[in-house]
């Protein structure tokens, strides 16, 4: 249930929590399907982000994510346990992109 910034909202996403403005007023209820009009409307209403169902698309391309992973693990290559951690992380990253 990630919080998505207004720029990254897309029609068809469903709210996972009520959308409130910065004074706490509820603008949209839970489980509302967003449309282009709704997104436009809440853009001007002091909302800092919207919690939506499902995972958000990660903000960077998968190749970058995986390359950064390789870089972080560069000192521990060949360690049998760390190889397992790295594989689990690769599967996890793949999963983040598949859900969309």
């Amino acid at each position: 249930m990630p919080k998505v910034t207004l720029d990254n909202l897309e029609p068809g996403m469903k709210t996972a929590k009520p959308v409130v403005n910065n004074t706490g007023m509820v603008l949209l209820g839970e489980n509302t399907e967003l449309t282009a009009e709704l997104i436009d409307r809440i853009r001007n209403m002091g909302v800092d982000g919207v919690c939506v169902h499902g995972a958000a698309r990660p903000s960077k391309p998968k190749e970058v994510f995986l390359a950064e992973l390789d870089d972080r693990f560069r000192n521990v290559g060949g360690d049998p346990h760390m190889d397992i951690v790295k594989r689990a992380m690769q599967i996890h990253i793949e999963g983040l992109y598949e859900q969309n």
Binding site: K3, R74, V85, K86, H92
Partner: protein, 278 residues
């Protein structure tokens, strides 16, 4: 290379109250949590008497780091639900938040991430007090805050060394201070009379195979630290990862499948807390 004398570091920790870099509100708070006989009521009143602190505590307990997001509306309720040990740790956590934000960008996220992973692993392992393990995770790197604040120039050299030589910050600290954030953090925790378990985990989170008292908790925080680094969440002082201690690995017995599930479970919480400012 010239090193900071470890005795000087130790001395500064012992005199932490008199240090100009430690904010007044933190000192006031430490006065309260240092008292081993402080009651839940006193803690609760202390928090409630400070609106800024109240807001921070409520934001924190309602964050996905704990199991009941969005349901706790009063400090009293938080203190009762979480218990004294967790609330004390949490108070220190939220109080060093500002310091972390000012001294080391990303250390707060790293700490929160470690708290989230620690809790998830503790629950999976059937630990009786997952929230306490989570606080251990939240505070495991508190020694870094002290080192950056007290020895900014030397610490910057250590940070540069991680970039240049590709060593993790824990090793670079030893090259510059003859000690590490783990030892410094445990001195602080002892000075503040934190529970023995917490002192122990802070001291041994890089070498969980050496503790006699908290092998399970230290191993959990050790692996949580590695997972949050693997995920690339936050910044602990370097962009690298250290190998897991084989004993900790054996003790927890996590398989690749387990790890994938833990990562998946943590993902939502991580994304939701990414912008958790207190």
């Amino acid at each position: 290379m010239s090193k900071i004398d470890v005795r000087l570091v130790r001395e500064k920790v012992e005199n932490i109250h008199a240090l100009p870099t430690i904010p007044k509100v933190l000192n006031k708070l430490l006065g309260v949590i240092e008292n081993p006989r402080v009651s839940l009521n006193e803690i609760s009143n202390f928090i409630s008497g400070d609106p800024a602190l109240t807001t921070k505590v409520l934001r924190m307990v309602n964050s996905p780091v704990y199991g009941f997001p969005g349901r706790i509306s009063s400090v009293n309720q938080a203190v009762i639900l979480l218990g004294l040990t967790v609330v004390k740790g949490l108070l220190l956590g939220v109080s060093v938040f500002d310091l972390m934000q000012k001294t080391m960008i990303g250390l707060w996220e790293h700490s929160i991430g470690t708290a989230i992973f620690s809790r998830i692993i503790a629950v999976r392992k059937g630990h009786k007090e997952p929230d306490e393990v989570s606080v251990n995770g939240l505070l495991h790197d508190i020694g870094k805050v002290f080192l950056v604040l007290q020895f900014p120039e030397e610490y910057e050299k250590a940070l540069n060394e991680t970039q240049e030589s590709g060593v993790v910050i824990y090793e670079a600290e030893k090259n510059h201070f003859n000690t590490s954030h783990a030892s410094v953090g445990s001195w602080m925790a002892r000075k503040w009379r934190f529970p023995l378990g917490l002192i122990d985990v802070i001291e041994y989170h890089h070498k969980p195979h050496l503790t006699k008292n908290t092998p399970l908790e230290s191993s959990i925080v050790h692996i949580a630290d590695i997972l949050v680094r693997a995920r690339g969440y936050g910044f602990p002082g370097d962009n690298l990862i250290m190998p897991v201690q084989p004993e900790a690995w054996e003790l927890l017995g996590l398989t690749e499948k387990d790890l994938v599930e833990v990562l998946k479970e943590a993902e939502d919480s991580l994304q939701m807390t990414e912008d958790l400012t207190l």
